[in-house]
Assembly symmetry: C2
Homo-oligomer: 248 residues x 2
């Protein structure tokens, strides 16, 4: 029975993709069978996994528009399986708009196709539109990557409101697993204050440990790797491994 | 004759909002009359300018859906005028989808309403959807904030393709003013390599100087300020001031 987890935050650049990829590989190294789903038309997860999104014939767009099964688009990428994205996904929302049951499209695509996996992690785009709503509707849990800065803090309330709407209308079982404090600069009081405020104000669990800021993360996608292989043993690699262990 | 500039990059968290706000205030301090347009449903620019987007009755959504004139929604915020956003903007794209001439909606809203300004800066959301297309169609120039990291680099080609499409169909006069190297970490080779590669590969001008990474930027929105007032004389404040001077 696959555990489906959305990695969501409508704020841009808070390490949704980095968290999805790194946690995915870390879970695989803990002997979990992992499917990563790229739901962002910008296809950064697919690119980070070593694919060239611009030359992909099949992507999640074909699955969402009903042309293909999830199994048809899956690609093995080292330790995990990936259901990739490409720019066609930019038109998925428009294609789904008119349809009844449009919020359930991804959930139905998962129905019989994910039994072979222990974990399914969904990388969401920086918006609360139809793609993110599909991800949240198809998930048991949501993990919120949080960059501990004011402009990121501002989006948390709106995201939690959206989770409540999803629970009310399309997925009563959805649970907020917690926050991952990403690219954390422990030296600044600002980061610590934002994190504490989010914990207190929203009573959110922060998955341990915080993930420190390190240029190794920015470099890794260039080699089609996560920090786990680009900088093994680094503080960032250890942090995501420990978070993965806490999920198993 | 107002100079309309889009601040655009579909990659999330590359300092579009920070660049729009800080350049806007810097230009105003150089005696320019400045209008800032918030085109992001997440309304980070409006929040940074000291407004509470959730309690705004009027926003750019009302302008785009034809209910109000641009002048009706403008608010004076210290040295600049702001046309704010709120969450209603999330439905603007859907509302515009069916209409003929939908790409020109913002341009037509500007027609008679911006003559009193020297500069109009448009903060775009992290996507290449209808809001960004409207911004680019309504602009004389586009400035590209670039976070010098691999995953940001990846989006530049796609953004420039979009600019070419805009030039072909809706705005032949659109010019790429250049790149602002944002949150630049000069100590890492990775940042320097990404910046050089972008300059060479796309023959893009980099507006001088690069903007250094500093926690002062993250703190400023909490006080409704830019670094120009939160940390005057800091390297970041000086950098945006010099970029503004280069635009006048
Ligand atoms: N711990 C970290 N330290 C330093 N840089 C990091 C860290 N985690 C991620 N990054 C870098 O920060 C940038 C943003 O991360 P990422 O693209 O994963 O965010 P995102 O939320 O998926 O963005 P988007 O909203 O555009 O989808 C990337 O260049 C990434 O490599
Ligand atoms: N030079 C800088 N140094 C450090 N932090 C910065 C700098 N410029 C911006 N920031 C911070 O980085 C974060 C992202 O910036 P910002 O929100 O302006 O990006 P954006 O591209 O508008 O994001 P989005 O795609 O979500 O609209 C914010 O917390 C901001 O305060
Ligand atoms: Mg991403
Ligand atoms: Mg922004």
């Amino acid at each position: 029975m696959a555990r489906v987890i959305s990695v969501a935050n409508q704020k841009g650049g808070v390490a949704k993709t980095t968290t999805t990829h790194t946690l995915g590989i870390a879970l695989a190294r803990l002997n979990q069978r992992v499917l990563l789903v790229d739901l962002d038309p910008q296809a950064c997860l697919s690119f980070s996994a070593g694919l060239d999104p611009d030359s992909l014939d099949l992507s999640m767009h074909d699955v969402l528009t009903g042309r293909k099964e999830l199994g048809d688009v899956m690609v093995r990428c080292a330790d995990v399986v990936l259901a990739p994205a490409n720019i066609d996904l930019a038109t998925s929302e428009q294609a789904l708009l008119g349809r009844t049951g449009r919020d359930f499209t991804l959930r139905e695509a998962f129905d019989t196709s994910i039994d072979e996996f222990d974990f399914v992690l969904i990388d969401c785009p920086p918006s609360l539109g139809l793609l993110t709503v599909n991800a949240l509707t198809a998930s048991a849990e949501v993990i919120i990557p949080l960059q501990c800065e004011t402009l990121s803090h501002r989006g948390v309330a709106q995201l939690l409101d959206t989770v409540e709407v999803i629970r009310k209308y399309t997925n009563p079982a959805l649970v907020v697993r917690g926050v991952v404090a990403t690219m954390h600069d422990g030296r600044t009081r600002h980061s610590r204050e934002v994190l504490e405020d989010v914990q207190n104000r929203f009573e959110l669990k922060v998955l341990e440990p915080v993930v420190p800021r390190s240029v190794r993360f920015a470099e890794a996608p260039l080699r089609g790797l996560t920090v786990l292989d680009h900088a093994p043993g680094s503080v960032g690699a250890v942090a995501y491994t420990q978070i993965a262990e806490s999920l198993v």
